[in-house]
């Protein structure tokens, strides 16, 4: 059985103009030790999914569907049980490492807190474990006595990763974990995450707009557009041989240096991601799609099989067997 199974997840935010659909029917599965990448532009719903998985969305949000983590439906859990699942079974690393730590408390106390609150360890054991955790993320154990402002941005993100690992979760959700960091530090943090994932056998859901980062880190990639998955498959296939025109455009935004195809030929799409309150008819991508034809404004395509283990929601995908998801 998969560690994480998401069935027909739908999330709507309340706004003055009514309910705004942010996630419109998403299915995901993730096995132990696997890394799944979730790619897409801002507003496509990828961060909303990350938050929905651990029920971190604001109360005035409508969430429907099923999220099975380790066999239990997170969306149905009672508050006490939910608290136990957060941290201990699924933990999340956010983008804003700068602001996620309490500035007036020592790092070691902040790292020990989840372990003590979860009753996993006594105070003393927890503090011993803090040293281990810091070394695991490449920081000297003695830095535990320092305050957040004494760390650089990259180091703070390392602390956040250590904190996420504190209660030995099986699933790590990384929501744009390297976006705010400098290029070289970004590569360091990426290497660290990949190492930890391999050493600890973690399942990881890696969320970013940067498709090229996902290719390096993930086994599989799911690409989202307008609240739905439009393509999913093995990462090298999705990036190297995309089946959906949107994925093609996204992959083109990350040029291969040295490849003459990209030289003085920026690839991009006209237009902008659609307003979730006024989605286009048919395929939501058709107004921006360079390959759209007369069917596209009428038919909202489900995920079609492009090849073994690789699906895409596009009418141009030459398969006649829809996978029965999406719509």
């Amino acid at each position: 059985m998969s560690l994480l199974t998401v069935n027909d997840l739908r999330v709507e935010y309340a706004s003055s103009g009514g309910w705004v659909p942010a996630v419109r029917g998403v299915d995901l599965t993730l096995d132990r030790g696997q890394v799944l990448g979730l790619a897409g532009e801002s507003g496509c719903g990828k961060s909303t999914i990350a938050h929905a998985l651990l029920r971190l969305l604001p109360p005035e949000t409508r969430v429907r569907g099923e999220v099975f983590l380790n066999g239990q439906d997170v969306l149905q859990l009672k508050p006490g049980r939910l608290r136990a699942v957060r941290w201990a079974e699924g933990a999340i690393v956010f983008q804003g490492a700068m602001h996620a730590l309490n500035p007036v408390r020592r790092i070691r106390d902040q790292l020990a807190e989840p372990m003590i609150l979860h009753g996993q360890r006594s105070d003393k054991e927890a503090h011993l474990r803090v040293g281990e955790l810091l070394e695991q993320v490449g920081l000297p154990a003695k830095r535990g006595a320092d305050y957040p402002h004494e760390f650089s941005g990259g180091q703070r993100q390392r602390v956040m990763i250590a904190m996420a690992l504190a209660c030995d979760p099986a699933l790590l959700i990384a929501d744009e974990p390297t976006t705010a960091l400098d290029v070289m530090v970004q590569a360091q943090v990426l290497n660290l995450l990949k190492e930890l994932q391999e050493d600890l056998g973690l399942a990881m859901l890696f969320i970013t707009h940067d498709l090229s980062v996902l290719v390096e880190v993930c086994d599989r990639i799911a690409v989202m557009y307008a609240g739905r998955i439009v393509e999913e498959g093995p990462s090298d296939r999705v990036f190297g041989a995309p089946a959906h025109p949107y994925t093609k455009a996204l992959a083109g935004a990350f040029p291969t240096i040295g490849d003459p195809i990209f030289r003085r030929a920026p690839a991009g799409l006209g237009g902008d991601p659609p307003d979730p309150q006024a989605l286009p008819t048919g395929c939501p991508f058709h107004p921006r799609c360079p390959q759209a034809f007369d069917e596209c404004p009428r038919v909202d395509p489900p995920l079609f099989r492009a090849e073994e283990g690789h699906v895409a929601a596009c009418l141009l995908v030459p398969d006649d067997q829809p996978q029965g998801v999406g719509a």
Partner: protein
């Protein structure tokens, strides 16, 4: 890839339009109360530490490096927004401070964050027209604004006149910012990370627009970026900065595919690509400009020094002790690296007919 073609592409005209000559910019840090009393001097950050850079008409130069390397400070100095502590910036051969007002009409800046660059309470028309009013340019304002919006790809222009920034998408906002710059008919555009805040699928369109403006109006561009992929996509020439200095500069085709400086190589190695991760990543944080190491400023992080390659080539003590400037090793391709000089130097002397600068 022939060298002749490179040269033609990177040299639209031989005269430098805009030139920074040996520019230094330093910032003095704060002194704490105690160190003030004890007379300790405030730390001085040498953000730009001796940079010369020339941009020709119609040329696109990418200025690349980690954050803190001084690339933004250099761009701001070129704009006349920072005063160099030493050296100066020249436009058409004259120091820019001779006629700063005229210069600012000729050289316009595009910032990273289009949302921050537009006044949220002004319509797009007002934002674009502001430059015209400040510089009191002749002509019918409305048609000039419409023209600039059209050039920036906001068509039909009239539709955007009365919109406010929040009614535009990110890509459209950046176009409006570019229109605000283009309305003054500038010769040079300095763009600081022009697409890094935009969605991936929209970036290409903005880059295409910048290339278009170069082709249509012979605009020169200085693009400050940390993204070497972007440099590969648009730049004619690339200058890589490290700790306040340009450490490698040359045609994009050469710098990005056959880098001579270990730092450039390191930056290229971390560009993510499929099947990667077996790549060396430099350790440590971006360096501190208030504490520049002696010798080659990159030596504490240099893989060639740490890995012994520099020692094998017999240059390690030079790396640790001798500061060096840029040396032209290939036509138009300059590098500041003892190891590169040692390994490629002889060929270069024969190749380019030039000789290394005396301080090596």
């Amino acid at each position: 890839m022939s060298r002749a073609r490179d040269r033609r592409e990177t040299a639209p005209s031989s005269e430098a339009l805009l030139e920074a000559r040996d520019v230094h910019v330093s910032f003095t840090g704060r002194t704490g109360l105690l160190s003030g009393i004890s007379g300790r001097a405030a730390p001085v950050a040498r953000a730009v530490d001796g940079v010369s850079l020339a941009v020709k008409q119609g040329e696109i130069v990418a200025l690349a490096g980690e954050s803190g390397c001084g690339k933004t400070t250099l761009a701001r100095t070129i704009m006349g927004l920072e005063r160099p502590t030493r050296g100066d910036v020249f436009y058409e051969g004259r120091p820019i401070r001779d006629d700063l007002r005229g210069y600012r009409r000729r050289v316009q800046m595009v910032f990273q964050d289009p949302t921050g660059a537009l006044n949220p309470r002004q319509t797009i028309y007002e934002s674009v027209a502001e430059g015209l009013r400040i510089h009191k340019l002749p002509g019918v304002e409305e048609s000039l604004v419409a023209d600039a919006l059209t050039r920036a790809g906001l068509r039909p222009a009239e539709r955007f006149f009365l919109l406010y920034p929040h009614e535009l998408s990110g890509g459209q906002r950046q176009r409006a910012v570019i229109a605000g710059a283009m309305v003054l008919n500038p010769k040079v555009l300095v763009a600081d990370e022009p697409v890094s805040m935009l969605d991936a699928s929209v970036r290409g369109e903005i880059l295409r627009l910048l290339l278009q403006l170069r082709d249509d109006f012979g605009l020169s561009l200085i693009i400050v970026t940390h993204d070497l992929g972007l440099a590969w996509t648009v730049a004619d020439r690339v200058a890589v900065m490290y700790l306040g200095r340009i450490v490698e500069e040359g045609p994009a085709e050469r710098v990005l595919t056959q880098p001579l400086h270990p730092y450039t190589r390191a930056l290229l190695d971390i560009v993510p690509e499929a099947g990667g991760l077996e790549r060396p990543v430099l350790k440590g944080e971006p360096p501190d400009p208030s504490n520049i190491p002696p010798g080659c400023r990159f030596h504490p992080r240099c893989p060639a020094v740490a890995g012994g390659t520099a020692a094998d080539a017999g240059v390690e003590s030079l790396c640790r002790n001798e500061d060096l400037g840029l040396v032209e090793l290939r036509p138009g391709h300059m590098v500041a690296c003892h190891l590169a000089l040692k390994t490629h130097g002889d060929a270069a002397t024969a190749d380019a007919g030039g000789s290394p600068v005396p301080n090596v």
